[in-house]
Amino acid sequence: MDLGPHAAFIWASYAAFAAIIGLLIGWTLLDGWRQAKALADADRRGLKRRSDRTANQGQKTS
């Protein structure tokens, strides 16, 4: 797999490409995890969304 005289540029461009797209994928996954955790934390603190609250309004006696 000899990449000829300009091999450095080929590797540089693939490395830069991989870095940018890798960062993008990493950031998206991290953001997704953070939002899920914030949502779980909000649920744990007993916050019900309006639609959930009206949904289970019937069952709860209080």
Binding site: L3, I10, G32, A42
Partner: protein, 253 residues
């Protein structure tokens, strides 16, 4: 237009969209990985060197898809902005907001790979030729969208204003393209899929393009999911704040 209407309407409800996207996201991601891996294998082990450039043509296999995805990203944003302003589609703003950073990233990748490709071919890292300059201006439009959206507190207003900017951008883009082309046509004619690229190079290019497009769609869906979750968390917090406020003021009477 009729079927597209019902499809987007069915997707209108965020929870419906979450279920659907959670179902298809893994498949798209797997498809993307498969295509990219196979394309990279072809590029590095099978594809012949170009008769002029030699091996540096390998950069084309990521430069061209990036440039193509930069344009596709902007058209997705323009489509979503149109959907938001005209049809007031609830998810349009989410789609536009999620697509902007992904499009900007691919534009940046196209610029960097283009300039690294330019060094061996034309001797300098940056050459003010028509195509690279148009991609650079597209990058400015992306920066403008992201900056405008992040500098306004009220999210709903920010979404609509950014949509207007996106539509203005999409209207002006062809004019920019034409003027930059007229300004300087140093660059070789754009390598269309069917044109001078000989068949053995065309398949890896096509596979890599499909692979990265799938990757773009996967990232876009995941970005939209994150945005929906973020908005849900915000409404929950605001609800708690409002309830806390009411409970606080009732506590004394």
């Amino acid at each position: 237009m009729k079927s597209m209407q019902t499809l987007t309407q069915r997707l209108a409800n965020p929870t419906r969209f979450m279920e659907l996207s959670r179902a298809i996201l893994p498949w798209i991601a797997a498809g993307a990985a498969l295509f990219i891996a196979y394309a990279m294998y072809l590029v590095f082990f099978v594809a012949p060197p170009d008769y002029q450039q030699g091996e540096t043509v390998k950069i084309m296999y990521i430069h061209v898809p990036s440039a193509w995805l930069a344009l596709m990203g902007y058209s997705i944003i323009a489509l979503s902005s149109f959907g938001l302003l005209v049809f007031r589609h609830p998810l349009a703003d989410v789609s536009a907001k999620a697509a902007a950073p992904i499009g900007a990233a691919f534009t940046l990748a196209a610029l960097i790979t283009g300039s690294l490709w330019g060094k061996p071919m034309w001797g300098t890292y940056w050459v003010w030729d028509a195509r690279l300059t148009s991609v650079l201006i597209l990058f400015f439009l992306y920066l403008g969208l992201i900056a405008l959206r992040s500098s306004l507190e009220d999210e709903a207003l920010a979404g609509k204003l950014t949509a207007v900017l996106a539509l203005v951008g999409v209207a002006i883009l062809p004019i920019i393209k034409f003027s930059v082309d007229w300004w300087n046509t140093l660059h070789q004619p754009s390598t269309g899929f069917t044109s001078s690229v000989d068949p053995s190079m065309r398949t890896p290019l096509l596979l890599s393009a499909i692979g990265f497009t799938l990757l773009f769609i996967a990232l876009h869906l995941k970005g939209m999911q994150n945005e929906i979750l973020r908005r849900r968390v915000k409404t929950l917090r605001l609800a708690e704040i409002e309830r806390g406020d009411r409970a606080f003021s009732e506590r004394v009477e």
